[in-house]
Amino acid sequence: MDIVIRIVGAAGQGVQTVGEVLTRAAFHSGLELHAEQSYHSRIRGGENAFALRLAPGPAWGAREGTEVLAALNQEMLDQYLPSLTDGGWLVCDEDLTVSEARVVRVPASRLAKEELGLPIAANMVLLGAAACVAGIEEESLARAVRDAFGDKAELNLEALALGKQHAGDPRLGPHSPAYTHGERMLITGGAAVGAGAIAAGCRYLASYPMTPGTAVLTYLAERATRWGLVVEQAEDEIAAINMALGAAYAGARAMVTTSGGGFALMVEGLSLAGMIETPVVIHIGQRPGPATGLPTRTGQDNLLFALHAGHGEFPRYIVAPRDAQEAFYLTAKAFDLAEKHQVPALILTDQYLVDSFSTCAPLEVTRVAPRSYLLTPEELEAMVSYDRFAITDSGVSPRAVPGVSEKLVLVDSDEHDTYGRITEDLHFRKALNEKRLRKAKGLMQDVAPPYVHPSGGLEGRTVLLGWGSTYAAIREAVDMLNAEGESFAMIHFSELWPLRTHELEQVFDQAARMIAVEGNATGQLASLVAQQTGLKVHGFIGRHDGRPLTAADIAQEVAR
């Protein structure tokens, strides 16, 4: 069983609501799943698609092909019908025109109006039918509806029942559960970043709305009172980063969330973070540029920008989680290393990762356990004097925050002496600049090795090189390609800066051919690898039309 249930319609028709209910139902049934969303940049109309993939083992990521297509309008029906696989089923309202043989027509609108007196419940009737066709357990679905609608669940449950009734028997399934309750979690990439932040002790978020970064803003805003955060919508992104830096200077772990265009406005602030050595975490949900580009689509075109953003030279930490689970851990790690090394940390996700649901092993709280790296008031009182930027071997100076002891804390955007005072003494300049840059070494030691699969014996293989959210697609592609002989492998980076080169050199050494696979047009990781190691890939597979790379995309391109 590897099926995709695809719900398609216009914005405002409830595609997302229906999709989420179905996703939770599958989760309750113990199915491994991945659910991906694609939508236009508008509030009503246009195209919305929600694709739930169910699989016995890992559901990996997005794929083409549809086993159950639930179409909420004619336009989207026509557009997605060609994706129906052999043996696939179309579910739609009886009003729609369709010549497909394998169709389950449901008088959803009529039933919703006549039987339920609630026209907008039509999509729930259709969901009932589609879920039935797809073989989703009834109880799980009911539970998901109750969770989603609370008081208003009853009518929706009736709607589901009507749909099921019209659909008749399941066409697919039954699906045997892969796990029992508690063994898995269900999470989106956006929620994972938000939860990772709270887990790391984030206290402050200032941001300006921007898709897909907003997901983290709303996640945190909704939980601010419960977990004790200030989540403030800034007047612009420049305010956001400067407010966050202010809060961080004052001792609150701080974050901003945005997308490439908003980050572009934060670049001066990023450089300030480097200069005043104040930790801040920047979440960039990538979407295709340049400029406004495709605001609700996905891409991976900000890696080199994130790496080189900011005037002057200073260390930073950059991660690009491969999935939601890792997004949780790496967000927490970004906070931790930002504090430990007093550097800005950047988290690169993308619309695909932020909006996708996936099942994963339960997140382990013991893996994040946040630590404080600040001088305590007692330590400060015991010091004769305090220099915020004392020169150290590691480049990291003991950090105090203002107000907690009588020691004053001074930071300066100009070059400064060890106390923090503006100076034009060029010896100080050299010493302080070198001190800051030295932190890169310590950071490097905290970076985990890239993921290499299979873990040994790469000799003679074609190795796919990737980063961030393309992980699942590449991983699945490797399996697909290896179905006909074991000649493929992969190396994947989730921690991108500082870039570990040791494993890269080994892999390049063993591989017969290296191919970069990225969600952009130019091969940004490939460039970065060349820059750091002098090693050049032999091929490049890129996708830059706003949709995520799939395993099939990759396998096809490799085969060519």
Partner: protein
């Protein structure tokens, strides 16, 4: 406390005869009057001649980016609202590059004090017209004079219903210090615009020029609770320049309204415990 104790013992990089010296004296005096312990004050500045004051007063200092003074100050105050936070910088910094933060932090009403060194020029970058420069003001960058109408900070602040709007003259150290005290004491986002001669670049708005024109609102019986009257004064186009409290109102601050800040200082919250983390992750099960 003694005002002198607040004067940092460092070389001052200002020009002889500059209005900034008086402002520094006034600030030290105000801090002494307020009896604020050094470490309970954060002086936030941007970049410019005025902004160097973060190095010249011995309290905590955050000398950030040009134009971002108020944004940084708001962040600091939200994180540690038990500290006194002063956002002090030049007119170019606060009203030019930083105009948007000026606008929106007045709306936000975070309890900070904005102190502007208004010398009508960009001093540090060699004398270009600042937003408050008079129309027609000539500089190397504006050889046929600034074409824009001057920005009237007080009028704008009143239009934004800022809770405390005042103006002083750098030549009057006592008066400036007294207004600083009131601005800091007032709860909410207060503005004190200080008329500051820059003898090097601004040869028009000199000490003498101001002395001839400034008058005290108090002397004229101005009622600072009357918003319309305040606006009328701020919008007046004659040759006299007001000093004193233009407008004042009470009202809840951002901190008063924020449920999380009502519970205590944000930065004092401990890191999450393991059981909190478990609870946090419950929703994903």
């Amino acid at each position: 406390m003694n005002a002198k104790e607040y004067l940092a013992d460092v070389e001052l990089a200002w020009c002889p005869g500059c209005g900034n010296f008086g402002i520094r004296q006034a600030l030290a005096k105000a801090l002494a009057t307020l009896e604020l312990p050094h470490h309970r004050v954060v002086l936030v500045t941007g970049i410019g001649q005025a902004a160097k004051i973060a190095h010249y007063i011995s309290v905590n200092g955050y000398n950030g980016l040009h134009g971002r003074t108020v944004a940084a100050a708001a962040g600091i105050k939200m994180a540690r609202h038990d500290l006194t936070v002063i956002a002090e910088s030049g007119d170019g910094d606060l009203y030019g590059e930083g105009g948007n933060h000026f606008l929106h932090n007045i709306r936000r009403n975070v309890d900070i004090t904005i102190i502007a060194h208004d010398n009508r020029v960009y001093g540090l970058t060699k004398g270009q017209a600042s937003p408050t420069a008079p129309q027609g003001y000539k500089t190397k960058a504006q050889p046929f004079g600034s074409l824009s109408a001057p920005f009237h900070p007080a009028a704008l602040a009143v239009a934004l219903d800022a809770p405390f709007v005042a103006q002083s003259f750098a030549g009057d150290v006592e008066g400036t210090a007294a207004l600083m005290v009131k601005a800091v004491q007032h709860r909410g986002c207060s503005l004190l615009n200080i008329l500051q001669p820059c003898p090097v670049w601004n040869r028009i708005n000199t000490f003498a020029w101001y002395k001839e024109r400034v008058f005290s609102l108090e002397d004229e019986g101005h009622d600072p609770s009357d918003r319309s009257a305040a606006f009328a004064v701020a919008a007046r186009q004659d040759d006299r320049i007001f000093t004193g409290i233009l407008y004042r109102r009470e009202g809840p601050t951002f901190e008063d309204r924020h449920p999380v800040l009502q519970e205590g200082v944000l930065a004092d919250r401990p890191l999450p415990t393991e059981s909190e983390l478990r609870a946090l992750l419950e929703e994903f099960r």
